[in-house]
Every structure is written in C-alpha cells, then in structure tokens.
Symmetry: C2
Subunit: 411 residues, 2 copies
C-alpha cells in the first residue's frame, strides 16, 4: 500500500505493444494495492523525428519554439498509456507539464523545476486513478512551455515523488541496474544492489547513462528513495539511498565511470591578474554552458594557461565566447580539443582511504595512459585522457580496484 512514482523511458514506450506492456506492469502494481503515478518519455525516435522536422526548416530554431515542438512527444505517450490502462479497467488520467503545473524557470530547453503543484494529482489518486504525467516538460510563469533538457523525465519523476511524498521513485529503463562500470567495455562488470546518492551523483555526472544527474541531485536533496530497474526483465534493480552501507570496512570503490562527451578549451598566455578566471568563465556560465574540470597553470612571465572542459555539444558556443574573451584579455591563443574523455573512480569509501589516488595513477601508468587533467572530490577522482585510451583505462581500473563479479565487495 505504497505510493509509487514510476518513470518509463523512451525505449520502454517505444511502440504501442510496449506501451501495453507498461500498462500491464502498472496494472499489476495497482492490483497489489499500490497507488501509482507514471511519468513517461516520448516514444523512442519521436523526439528525433520532431527535431529533424525543425532542422529541415531552420538549423538553429528559437528555444521557445523547440520546446513547443518537442514537448508534444511526451504528451502523446501520456494519452496512449492512459488508453492502455482504461482498456485494463484501470482508471487513469493524463497530464502534460502545464496541466499538472510543473512550474519552471524560463531557460528554454534547459529549464529547472521551481515548484510542483500536487493538488490535482493528489485528488486523482484519492479517487483511485493512476495519474500519467508527461516527463521532461514544464511551464514558465508566463505560460510558455519549457523542457528540462534530454533525460529530464527522470527529474520530473523524482520531483513528483518529492512533491507527493511518494514512498519510492522507480526509474524503469533498458538496463537492470547500476553497474560497477559499463558492461559493454568490461564484461566482468556487476550490478550493484545499493549505492549512495553521492556515488550515483558522481556516476551520473560521469556520463553513466542510467540516470540523469539532476534527477539524482533532486532525489538526494529531498531524500526520495530511488530505484533503477529494467522495464523488460523482473529483478530488484539498484536502490539508491541516503545511507552509506552499514558495512563501512569493506567498500572502497563503487564503480568506474567514464564520459566521452568532453571537449577541452585552453586559453594560452593570459595575463595573470586577479579576476581573470571570472572574466573567462563568467560569459561561459551566462550562456548556460556547464563547465566541468578546470585547470590553471601559473606561468613564470606573469602569464598563465587556463584550461577547462565542456560538453562537446557546447564546444562551438564556448569557442565563440572565448574567441571574444581572448581578444579582450590580450591572451595569446585559444586551443580546442574534442578528442578527450574522462574516467573516474567513485566511492564513498574513498573518504577514509587515502591511497585511492595513488592506486589509480599507478594502474593507469602501468598501461601507458597519459593523464592530461585531474579533478577530485570527496568521493571521486577523475582524469581527463586522450579518448583513444578510454577502454584501456576503464578496464585496468576495474581490475585494479577488484570490482569483478563475485569477487566484488559491494553486494
């Protein structure tokens, strides 16, 4: 008798047959006595179909119109799933982001949720209805349709779970949980039964495609228990919780994450004066471009080199902004490199184990991987390396930290 928020991604609702299978699943949870709120993505391929239509007309459409366009994809799925539920005698009602009122800021295509009004949905739930909500979208204070960016449906689900004080937020996807690393790269990777929000946050930020970064942040902030499961197979998935594992002795590293979606920009020969970092990064941040690893080498002649990484999709925008800054700052040169990747070891156990970094760098040097940049947090160490070495680096770290199946310590 729990209130569950379940999110089904694009592959899980990719065609009418799959939507019917999701309806079966939801109907079973209802038959077990649970209240269910379902968040759905657009049917797989639909968002790209819409974007292709847009680009065939205008290569750089206005973000407001893009949101108006692509938000229809999720709305279609909500209606179809509600129909499939009705067919199973399950009362259901669809809502788009405006109707729920998922209030966001005005940053079209990258909006952030500010407030969710749970009253309408709560009334439906109290009347025994399943509520089907369009993920990924909201509405700004002026009534314009906004989207949360790709993968934002996870965020919608978590935010709804928080707003409705749900007992669990379940993210159904095409993988059956969170793994120590990508099994396509390292076949001995194994599913984790539990992971902390912090670890998941780092894994997500590292490009682990299972969950969207913002969704994990949200879940951690509002202490929403989050579970990743497969839409297609039965299984417990991976539970993401507040508690660090009770068995604090054993675990060191939860997994090896990596991200190919990285590009590096280096401003060479910047006059080394106070405020220079802000002058370089300020305009980048204002353009809503997220900066990841940042490195500043202090030079000897009163000049410095300033390097940072962004998503590859933001590279052209960032370059345009920096070309302006380079001229203004009197810097020597701007260099960009999109053939890089980031590899990280992640684990809350790292806090009490100082030797993780040493072990990581040793493992990489033994297989001849050159480290370009390093970035650390309490529970993560990341390195930027040449993209060609990515698989080699992941495999050697997975072995070095003893993450192989069975032998693993994180069950």
């Amino acid at each position: 008798m729990a209130l569950l928020v379940q999110k089904y991604g694009g592959t899980s609702v990719g065609c009418p047959e799959r939507i019917e299978r999701v309806a079966d699943k939801v109907a079973r949870f209802r038959a077990d006595g649970h209240d269910v709120v379902v968040v759905v993505s657009a049917m797989s391929g639909e968002t790209n179909r819409l974007l292709d239509l847009a680009r065939s007309i205008e290569p750089h459409p206005q973000p407001r119109e893009l949101d108006m366009l692509v938000s229809t994809g999720e709305q279609v799925t909500t209606a179809l799933l509600s129909m499939a539920l009705h067919k199973r005698q399950v009362p259901a009602r669809s809502y788009n982001g405006s109707q729920v009122r998922i209030l966001t800021d005005t940053a079209h295509t990258k909006a952030r949720i500010q407030h969710i009004d749970g009253h309408k949905l709560r009334a439906d739930i109290d009347q025994g209805r399943v509520v089907v909500v369009a993920g990924f979208q909201g509405v700004d204070p002026d009534g314009n349709i906004t989207t949360l960016g790709r993968g934002g449906s996870d965020t919608t689900a978590v935010a709804l779970a928080a707003a409705l004080s749900a007992d669990e937020c379940q993210i159904y996807t095409d993988v059956d949980g969170v793994y120590t690393t990508d099994p396509r790269i390292e076949s001995s990777a194994r599913r984790l039964e539990k992971i902390t929000f912090e670890e998941m946050l780092e894994l997500a930020s590292m490009g682990s495609k299972v969950l969207q970064l913002r969704a994990v942040e949200f879940a951690g902030k509002y202490a929403v228990p989050l579970r990743v499961l497969s839409s297609f197979e039965e299984g417990p998935g991976t539970l993401i919780t507040m508690d660090e594992d009770a068995d604090m002795e054993a675990p060191t590293i939860a997994g090896i994450a990596f991200n190919r979606d990285e590009a590096k920009l280096t401003v060479l020969g910047v006059p080394d004066t106070p405020g220079v970092a802000y002058e370089i990064l300020g305009p980048v941040g204002e353009a809503n471009i997220e900066v990841d690893v940042i490195l500043q080498n202090t030079g000897e002649d009163g000049h410095t080199d300033f390097t940072f990484t962004v998503s590859r999709s933001d590279l052209n925008d960032a370059r345009a902004i920096l070309e302006h800054s380079v001229a203004q700052l009197g810097a020597k040169e701007l260099r960009v490199d999109s053939k890089i990747a980031k590899v990280s070891v992640v684990g809350v156990g790292m806090r009490s184990h100082a030797n993780v970094a040493a072990r990581m760098f040793k493992a990489l040097s033994e297989v001849g991987v050159n480290i370009q940049m390093i970035s650390t947090s309490e529970i993560k160490i990341s390195v930027i390396i040449e993209e060609n070495y990515l698989e080699l680096a992941v495999r050697s770290l997975h072995t070095a930290f003893g993450l192989e199946g069975d032998a693993g310590v994180q069950q």
Copy 2:
C-alpha cells in the same frame, strides 16, 4: 494596414517545404504592412497517424485522452511555422489552445468555443509579432484539453477574427473558392466571387468541404468577413459577406450542394402519443449526435413511423440508443439505411421565387430520381435520395437552374 486572420489547412502545411511556402506568403502580407494571425491545422496525415496509434491500443479510447493525443498535431505545426517565419526575419510566436486561452465547454472531441481571451495575442501583435495559433483545440474550465472536432481549425480562425476584431478572416485551402457545385461531378461548375453567409451555411451543412459549418455560423453571427482562397495559386477566392447581392433581380440559386455522409433511421409502428418525438430524439441529442432531416408519417391505427438522418459516423451510436428506445416505446421495428445521400439547391434568391421547389422536383422526376424525404428552409430545399442517383441528380439540377460557367448569373 489590416489585421488578417489566416487559416492554413493540413494540406497547406503537409510537409516542411509547404510550411516554408506558407511562411513566404505570411511574410509578404507583413511586408505589405498587414498584421497577421495565423491558424494552422496538423500536417496532413498526422491526425490519422495519431488516431491509428490510439486505435492500435484501444478501439474506443476515452474522448479526453483522444483530445490530449490529437491536439499535439496542431501544436507541432505552430512551432514549425514560427521557426520558418524566424528564418525570414519575421518575429513570430506560437500558441496552443490552452495558452491563448480558447475556452470551450467540456464536450471532448466536439467542444464548442465559449470565450477567447485576446489579450496575449493583442500584445504580441502590438509588438510587431506574427501570432501562430493551433487550430481545432481549446481548453475547458478545468484545464483539460478539448478539440472542436475535425475541421475545427476554421472555427478557431473565425472565432479569433471575431475576438480580435480582424478585418478579414482568410481560409486557405486546396480549392480556389466556392463553386456552384463540386466540379468533380459537374465540369461546368464555376467559382462564385461572392456568396452570403446564409448560402454558405447551407452549402457547408450540405457537405461542401470547403468550410466547416460552425465556422460559417460563427462568421455570420459576428459579421466577420470570410474569404476562401487557394494556398497554392494566386486569386481572389470567394468572399462570404453579410450583404445579399445588390442585384436582387437576377440571382435565384447559388449552387447545388450534396452530402453522402448521411444515414437514415426509421422507427416503425410507434404509438402516436404526445411527446413521442422527444422520447425518440432526446437521448440521441444528449449523446451529442446531430440529427438532420426529420420526418414523421401519421399512421391510421394510432401508430406512426418516425424517420431521421444522422452522419454515418454516428449511425452505430444512434442505432444503439434507438434499440433501447424501440423496446421502451413498444415500437414495432427499427430500420437503418446508410446508402442514402442528400442533394440541395441553395440560394437567397429563393425567398422571392416560389417556383424553385417545383422546378427542382420536376428536374429530378425527369431523370427518374425518387425522392425519399424533403426538407426546406428559407434559402434551401434538400431531398434525400438513394446514394446511387447522387451524380445524376446534381448534374440535372445544375443544368435546370442554369448554373453553368459563363451563362451563370452569380458573378
């Protein structure tokens, strides 16, 4: 320097290239100094694609969910047309029915517009923007998305023109105007330069596909000058106005209309008591089924036969309702016939020419067409005939009333 509301149908926006051509057209009107509000339909095929998706899941989806589903079609077009306008440096902004706030009643899939808030659009127009509005849809008082039924985009356009006091409402379609009859049936049919609202109303109600009935009603009620033009060719189209033609002597008949979308239901042997018509038609009306021609034959034995026509798409629903009524009323039998058609002569001139009916019946009898039912109004005479005789009836009437090109009196 006029304010024009222009409506482009599904064929006119059927693919990105055609959307670009519409944008060219709108840009030219803007360059000529006009303010333009554009109402668009879904890209041709899109509504059917969505309906097919729905039906593959549930043959009889709930109307609320159907509206949620199909309303996305028009929203997609608004965004794409706005993008195409931006590409031409024309400031533009898309709106769906909820955003404008096109308030309707709650009759999903057949909703009626109750009020349009013109403030947002007016503000955009005042700032020099073209406003692109999703046709065919609105929102009910509870925030549920409603649709006006197929062809409802015309109604949206006229209602917007009324709300904004536009100078003209232009309906762009794949024909270049209103004809004396369907040129596919009678090759000598000719385009009318002008027609009255009343005549157009009768033509539209007779299944002339050029304009939706409700749109013409609305335009007449609010005295919105309405023009039907081709999206693909230049030309003045047909203007629909309040004024009867100044030259009252000549014109008699504007055109010959017909409609194959007719089905007939006959309740045989109903006890002939007061209120029986209401008892038969009341439940039909409550089910939102529109009844067209009604005929009651008083019998001799205290029983009567009651016949009426509905759209073929409503036949099954009407039959189900009547089967119930037949039992309740103690009537003998229910018969249905969907192989009928309606043919009408329409013209304001008819008011002062009593011999129109005689001429019509004579023409039909001369070619051996049997009349099953007759219905008349001030400016129209309709007959229900066997569907097989439709073309023959139309051609003989077109000739009998002298409507052929050149020889015509209605230019």
